[in-house]
Amino acid sequence: MNIVVCISNVPDTTTRIKFAEGSSAIDTAGIQWVINPWDELSLTRALELRDDPSSGVKKVTVAHAGPASSEPTIRKALAIGADDAIRVNCTPSDAYYTASQLAAAIGKEGFDIVICGIESSDFNGSAVGGMISEFLGIPSVSSVSGISMENGMPVITREIDGGRESVKVTLPFVAIVQKGIAKEPRIASMRGIMAARTKAVRLYEPVDADCLTEIAGFEKPAPRAACKYVDPDDPGKLIELLQNEAKVI
C-alpha cells in the first residue's frame, strides 16, 4: 500500500511577514521556508504507518506543486524519511490550480491514500485536499485526527463539534488531517539527510488548468490599542473594565 503526502512550502511561522501595504506579494527576503506544519504532521503519521509492518503501508511519496526553488523543502521531507517525491513544476497560484496540478500528477502515480494538511499557513485556504478528492473522483474524509490500519483497511478518527467519531472509508481516499494526527513532527537524522541526496524527485510538467482567484493585495491587521494594566492586588478593576468599557461580559 502506498501513501502520497501533499506538502506545501511556507514561510516559517516565526518569520515576520513583510509586504508593502496593498502589495499582492510578500517580501521573501530573509524568509526561512519550511514544510507547512500540518503537512509535516501528515508526513510523520504516514512514516509511522510505513514503519509498522502490520499496517501494510510500504511506501510514502511526497507530492509538491511548486517551482524549483522549493526543492530544499522537498529534500527536507525526504530527509525526514519519505521514500521518494514528485514535483509539479509550476507556480501554485490558487487552490483550484494547485489541486488540479497535484491531482493530475498523483493520478499517474500508484497510491491508496492521499494525505493533505487541513490548510497551509500562508494562504489559509483549506481547499486543496477536498479539491484533489473531487478531481480524482475518490472519497475524502475531513477533520481527521487519527489514521490507523486494521486488516488492511483504514480506520479514521474524525473530529466533530464536541467530540469525535470513528469512520470507515473505501480505498483509495483522501484524508484531510489536523491536530492530533501525530504528536510531534519527526526530525531528520544525519543519516536521513545523507540518504535524501540520492532519493528521486520525479518532475511533472503542469497540465492546463484555470486559476479562479487572485490576490489583489495584502493588508496588515489593524493595530491593537496599547495594553491597559490593572493592579494585580485589585483584579476586580479588570472585571469592571470588561463590563463597562469593553462591554464583553
Binding site: 478528492s133 477533520s143 504528536k183 486559476c211 490576490i215 491597559k228 490593572v230 479588570l238
Partner: protein, 322 residues
C-alpha cells in the same frame, strides 16, 4: 437567482453561527440586489427553520434523504452543487467551520467556483467580486478577487453581526435524490460531549498555559470560565503534556477561535499561539513576566501570579452577579 447559504443543523437545531451566516448572506444579497435561499441538510423542525427567515432568508429549505444521514463530503457537496444549479445561484455561502471546510472544495470543483475562505467582512467590491480574508495565519489579511462565474465564500465564525430582517419565509422540506454510487463513508461509533459550550462557539474563553504550573491548578480557571458562561482552552505545551484534552488547544495547529473575550492565563504568547486567537475582539493577559509577548496583543493586562489573581477574579465576578 439567489444567494445560497448553507446552514448546518445540530440535531435539528440552529445556533448563533447559523444566524450570523444568514444575516451575512442577506447583506451580500442586498449588495447584489438578490434574494436569499437558506438551506439545511437533514430534518429540522419548522419552528427552527422559521428562525432563519427572521434574519433575511426569503426561502428556507430542508433537504432530506436517508442517504444524507452521515456526512460524506462528496455526496453532500453534490447535493449542494445540484441545488445551486437548480436555483441558478452564483454566490454560495458556508461557514468556515469544520463542515464548511469539508464541503466547499467539492462544490468548488463541481461548479468551477473560486473560494474565498475565512472571509471576515462583507465583499470589498462586487465588480470585480473581491473578498477580505485572513492570510499568513493572522499576520496579514488579503483582498482576493473571485474571477469565476460562481463564487463561494466561507465565513469566519463570530465575524458578522446578527441582523433581524424578517422575510417571512415558509419552510419547505425537499426530498432529494442522492447519487447512491457516491457514499463511501460509514460512521462506526460517535463520542460526543453534550451540555458543554463548544470552544468554537463560546463568546468568552479562559485559557491556560504552562504558567499554570500543574494540571491540579485548573479549578479557579474552570470556575471563572463557567461564571462567565464561557469555555476553557489551553496552549499547545499544556495539551502536549496531557494536562488538558487536545481539543482545548488553541493556536496555529489547534483550534482557531474568535471569541469576544479571550483571557490568556500563564500564556507567553508565542506567534503560533497568537495565530489561533488573534481574531478575538478583546484579549486579556495574566502573566507574571511583564515582558511576555502576549501583552503586546492584549488590551488589558495583569502582571502577577495566576494562582493569586484567578481566585480574586472569581470573587469579583461572583460579586458582580449578586
Amino acid at each position: 437567482m439567489s444567494v445560497l447559504v448553507f446552514t448546518e443543523n445540530w440535531d435539528g437545531k440552529f445556533k448563533k453561527l447559523s444566524f450570523e451566516l444568514v444575516s451575512y448572506a442577506a447583506s451580500v444579497a442586498g449588495m447584489m440586489n438578490m434574494k436569499v435561499t437558506a438551506f439545511t441538510i437533514g430534518k429540522a423542525a419548522d419552528e427552527e427553520l422559521k428562525e432563519l427567515g427572521r434574519y433575511g432568508a426569503h426561502r428556507v429549505l430542508s433537504l432530506v434523504s436517508p442517504a444524507l444521514e452521515v456526512m460524506d463530503n462528496r455526496t453532500w457537496s453534490k447535493v449542494i452543487s445540484d441545488l445551486a444549479a437548480k436555483e441558478g445561484s452564483k454566490i454560495i455561502i458556508l461557514s468556515n467551520n469544520m463542515t464548511g471546510k469539508a464541503l466547499a472544495p467539492g462544490v468548488a470543483v463541481r461548479l468551477k467556483a473560486g473560494i474565498g475562505s475565512g472571509v471576515s467582512r462583507l465583499p470589498v467590491s462586487t465588480e470585480p467580486f473581491t473578498v477580505y480574508k485572513r492570510a499568513y495565519s493572522g499576520n496579514a489579511f488579503a483582498n482576493v478577487v473571485l474571477r469565476s462565474e460562481v463564487k463561494i465564500i466561507t465565513l469566519a465564525q463570530n465575524s458578522y453581526e446578527i441582523i433581524e430582517r424578517p422575510a417571512g419565509a415558509i419552510p419547505e422540506t425537499v426530498d432529494v435524490d442522492v447519487d447512491q454510487s457516491l457514499p463511501a463513508t460509514t460512521v462506526t461509533s460517535t463520542h460526543k460531549q453534550t451540555g458543554k459550550i463548544l470552544l468554537t462557539d463560546a463568546e468568552v474563553v479562559v485559557s491556560g498555559g504552562r504558567g499554570m504550573k500543574s494540571p491540579d491548578n485548573w479549578e479557579p480557571l474552570v470556575e471563572l470560565a463557567s461564571l462567565l458562561n464561557g469555555a476553557t482552552a489551553c496552549s499547545r505545551p499544556v495539551s502536549d503534556e496531557g494536562w488538558r484534552p487536545h481539543e482545548e488547544h488553541t493556536g496555529q495547529t489547534g483550534k482557531i477561535i474568535a471569541p469576544n473575550l479571550y483571557i490568556a492565563v500563564g500564556i507567553s504568547g508565542a506567534t503560533q499561539h497568537l495565530a489561533g486567537v488573534s481574531s478575538s475582539k478583546y484579549i486579556v493577559a495574566i502573566n507574571n513576566d511583564k515582558d511576555a509577548p502576549i501583552f503586546e496583543s492584549a488590551q488589558y493586562g495583569i502582571v502577577g501570579d495566576a494562582m493569586k489573581v484567578l481566585p480574586k477574579l472569581v470573587d469579583a465576578v461572583k460579586n458582580l452577579k449578586k
